[in-house]
């Protein structure tokens, strides 16, 4: 892009034949031609920069859009939804005048290149989305996936990612209350670093990303703009990594959590004084995104003087300033008479703030540099009218063979001795082992409102000190299930997160998701994606929990090999009084253990099939969302009415995994009896969905059974909390000490 003479709009109009590097910036030929058609001339360099980042996969969702529409089309009726898909994050009514916003995002590719900073800036980005809605962030969660636990590169990536998430979140003062850690060779070159955040506000504090009111000022505040991740949005997030071309990996951004903490406080103070008309965080595509989205969502146009942007590097070109992804920046629209006060608050917090433009009467986004007009566009064409692809998709030809390779036919333990050794192997396997080594690097206590944090089924935060109102969140995803059947796999992820929230006593309200897939240019991957979205949308409709927002991460593959399709689902719930929450840990000897739900021979994609047979095949467990909803209602009622003292949902690893976890957490053992009609193996390892184990005080036994009976939920008495071992009568007993050593020793042995 030549800078002498300045490539202004007039210059572009006068020099139609100048060749621009649209291909290098990631645009396809027809996309570039569309830009020319929209503008009626060739774009200036600055305009090209904007269109190229905003039309990238990462920012425009061009491959996924046609499918994501279902989340709106099939959205269930929900009184709780205050702000739906399309804003920085969705907002849900949780009662008593409070609203909650939450969202999950990915920072997969940067975290592979520079694990610490990649993960840290992932947290920074999602938290800015939450602030931009007007909320105070109150917690974060981090669903993570890595390559094989014993692969040497995992030892590079995982500790860096965990330190980065902790380093950033801890410094912001956000308790980390949940997440996932999954190991699978398919994520070797593509770790999945998803990060979610929750924020709380009063209804009247909801803010939106729009610039309205001609004459209102556009204020850029936060960090100075540097050359960080220029082109990062389009290149880093959308390009397949190919070992042959490491030079294509541009520098990742470095985060400054301290700056972000100041940004949070000064933004909230400005909200409190009602100084902000519209607001947008600067994330991917930086100023290009913030200006075009603000202008596009508002009623008027916008004029920006790029010379006024505070720079860290004075040699940046206007194109680079527009594309820079420097972290910790926000853009606010402020009425002229309130600007002085806004700047004062920024100064109080030592945050640099500058008026860079204003809202205009027209409908154009105009950007000036050195006195020349270098951008003159309809902002909608940049922000919202990007290309949309109907990518071809097709069920892969290997899917049938995969499903025919039935896990239920794998050889099962023949003796009690063998059963016991398989239990030990499972409990000590990296995916089933305690993640304490990781989660103890996160602050769970900060803000003084944490009711439940890992390893509970969901994280829970008190929202109101007086009433005890609280919110709960759980994230789940199982790439193995989704590989076997992406439609069912997505629903299982939803069902599990829903169940995890209900298990703690909270009522599930809404969903956010992070859809991690391979290359959309591969029809097989595109089919997985389409199926997963369809499954999730259908599931949300059935459960009455709308999708409020989320994130799509494509191109997660190394060469030809895509990751397992990995839809990660976050479910948010509400609880009227956190004093009623149900913990995972066994509380008291003598309490009765009940298994809720049906147990079938379902081993496809199971932890057992992976750990014992290194096998992936067959069908995932069956989903019955009506049953999930009933189970949830029972768990919530039981918690509200004090009928259960602990509860744990059943998921990967089956019943034995859940019982061992409850026992270890409570420091109390259990004696279990294999119920009639089930063999010990199926009882212990089956991964049938829609189940939970609850501990019922003797005094509540009748009432609890009556409730389940009246509502038609199968309930089976399976044993009692007792002693210091987990015993399966007639089979084996394992001391808590032995179990603890295994469960807690695995991850440190691999990573410390």
């Amino acid at each position: 892009m030549s800078r002498t003479p300045l490539d202004t709009v007039e210059h572009a109009a006068a020099t139609p034949d100048v060749e621009l590097p649209w291909a290098e910036l990631g645009l396809k030929k027809d996309e570039y031609e569309r830009v020319v058609e929209i503008l009626g001339r060739r774009p200036t360099g600055a305009e090209l920069a904007m269109y190229s980042v905003m039309w990238s996969e990462h920012c425009s969702y061009k491959s996924s859009k046609v499918h994501l529409r279902q989340f709106g089309e099939k959205a269930p009726q929900s009184d709780a939804l205050l702000v739906g898909i399309g804003e920085n994050a969705g907002v849900v009514d949780v009662g008593q005048g409070y609203a909650v916003t939450f969202k999950v995002e990915s920072h997969n590719h940067p975290s592979y290149v520079e694990p610490y900073q990649g993960a840290a800036t992932g947290v920074g980005g999602i938290v800015r989305d939450i602030i931009a809605m007007g909320a105070r962030p109150v917690a974060v969660v981090d669903p993570l996936r890595f390559g094989a636990a014993d692969h040497p590169d995992t030892k590079r990536v995982l500790p860096g990612v965990v330190a980065g998430i902790g380093g950033y979140g801890n410094c912001l003062g956000l308790p980390n209350i949940g997440g996932e850690v999954v190991f699978d060779a398919c994520y070797q070159g593509n770790p999945l670093v998803n990060a979610g955040a929750i924020g709380v506000m009063r209804h009247e504090d909801i803010h939106l990303a729009k610039a309205s009111g001609a004459g209102n000022k556009v204020v850029l505040y936060g960090a100075r703009t540097g050359g960080d991740g220029i082109g990062g949005a389009s290149i880093l997030a959308s390009e397949t990594f190919d070992d042959a071309k490491p030079s294509k990996r541009p520098a990742v951004q470095v985060g400054d959590p301290f700056q972000e903490k100041l940004l949070i406080e000064c933004t909230l103070e400005a909200f409190k004084e009602k100084l902000v008309v519209g607001i947008q965080d600067l994330g991917a595509a930086g100023l290009s995104c913030a200006t075009s989205e603000l202008a596009s969502n508002g009623s008027g146009g916008m004029r920006v003087t790029l010379d006024d942007v505070p720079l860290r590097d004075s040699t940046l070109s206007p194109e680079e300033i527009l594309m820079s992804e420097s972290q910790e920046r926000m853009c606010a629209v402020v009425e002229p008479e309130k600007v002085a006060r806004f700047l004062e608050i920024c100064e109080k917090w030592d945050v640099i703030a500058t008026v860079i433009g204003e809202v205009t009467d027209g409908d154009r986004l105009e950007i000036y540099w050195h006195g020349g007009k270098i951008v003159d566009v309809d902002p909608r064409t940049v922000a919202h009218e990007g290309p949309v692809y109907e990518r071809p998709y097709a069920r892969p030809d290997w899917q049938d063979a995969l499903q025919a390779d039935d896990a239920n036919k794998l050889s099962r333990p023949a003796t009690s001795e063998e059963l016991k050794s398989q239990v030990l192997k499972l409990v000590g396997s990296p995916n089933q082992a305690s993640k304490k080594w990781i989660t103890s690097q996160y602050d769970h206590f900060v803000q003084g409102n944490t009711v439940l944090a890992q390893p509970e089924d969901s994280g829970m935060i008190r929202v109101d000190e007086e009433s005890g109102l609280g919110v709960a969140i759980a994230t789940d995803g199982n790439g193995r299930y989704a590989k076997l059947d992406p439609y069912t796999g997505a629903q299982l992820a939803l069902a599990e997160a829903y169940r995890n929230v209900a298990t703690t006593g909270a009522k599930p309200l809404a969903v956010s998701d992070c859809l991690n897939f391979g290359s959309p240019e591969d029809p097989a991957v595109m089919w997985q994606f389409a199926e997963a979205v369809r499954g999730l949308a259908d599931g949300c409709l059935q459960l009455g929990t709308p999708v409020t927002g989320g994130n799509v991460s494509l191109y997660n593959q190394t060469g030809e090999a895509a990751i397992h399709p990995t839809p990660v689902v976050a479910v948010l719930g509400v609880i009227d009084d956190v004093a009623r929450r149900t913990p995972v840990a066994f509380q008291e000897d003598g309490q009765l253990l009940y298994l809720l739900g049906d147990t079938r021979e379902e081993f496809g994609g199971s932890a057992w099939s992976q750990v014992i047979h290194d096998h992936l095949g067959g069908l995932p467990p069956k989903v019955d969302l009506e049953r999930e909803r009933l189970l949830g209602e029972i768990l919530i009622s039981a918690s509200r009415d004090g009928m259960i003292d602990s509860a744990h949902d059943l998921s990967d690893g089956g019943l034995i995994q859940a019982v061992v976890e409850s026992a270890l957490l409570g420091g109390k053992g259990a004696r279990l009896v294999v119920p009639d009609g089930l063999d010990a193996f199926t009882f212990l390892f089956s991964e049938s969905a829609g189940r939970a184990v609850v501990a019922v005080p003797r005094s509540e036994e009748v009432r609890f059974n009556d409730m389940c009976g009246a509502r038609g939920l199968p309930v089976t008495r399976i044993g009692v909390v007792d002693g210091d071992a987990v015993e399966i009568q007639g089979e084996f007993a394992l001391s808590l000490n032995e179990l603890r050593e295994l469960h807690e020793g695995t991850i440190p042995a691999l990573l410390a």
């Binding site: 903490k261 602050d443 003084g448």
Partner: protein
Amino acid sequence: MTARIGVVTFPGSLDDRDTRRAIRLAGAEPVALWHKDKNLHQVDAVVLPGGFSYGDYLRAGAISRFSPVMETVIEQAKAGLPVLGICNGFQVLTEAHLLPGGMLGNDHLHFICRDQKLRVENADTSWTSDYTAGQEIHIPLKNMDGRYVADSYTLDKLEAEGRVAFRYVDFNPNGSLRDIAGITNEAGNVVGLMPHPEHAVEPLIGTGRTDGLPFFTSILKKLVNV
């Protein structure tokens, strides 16, 4: 009449709001103090809260130590004003040389968050009189730079004078010399510790224990009885 206890907010302070809540729950009146303001607004005691002031850049507490409010805090602490430094606040106190020794990164190089067992070694300070010497308590701990170090002369002196206020029990979470979790100055008005008593004041929240509340009731009794 109750006591006014100031809680300083530095840029990057995180536990200032929780600390104010703990003070309130103990029955005292919390007063927010601002790092740029030298005026302590007639408070009877000051808490320097936890967090990552200035991001813990350079060294934890090193930049805050030079803030305007600290000029007054240092001067008044020397004259007897009760001051409690929690975590980052403890780091500020060592950087300001109100307490001896220094804080370094945890020996295992990771941030650590856990429910920590402590022994109260000195129950005669302004902030610990509601405990009994030798009492064992559980208080949440969360830090990156919690390794207390000092030369052996200083350590011996602290021991001899009974100025080790808290010691880690069963598990040393950060490599602190002699398992030191907190110390006091000679006069007993300035106390610093790494664990977070303000996170252990309500039964439902955090670890669900209230072992931290006596910090705040100790100071309240002392101030109100005066």
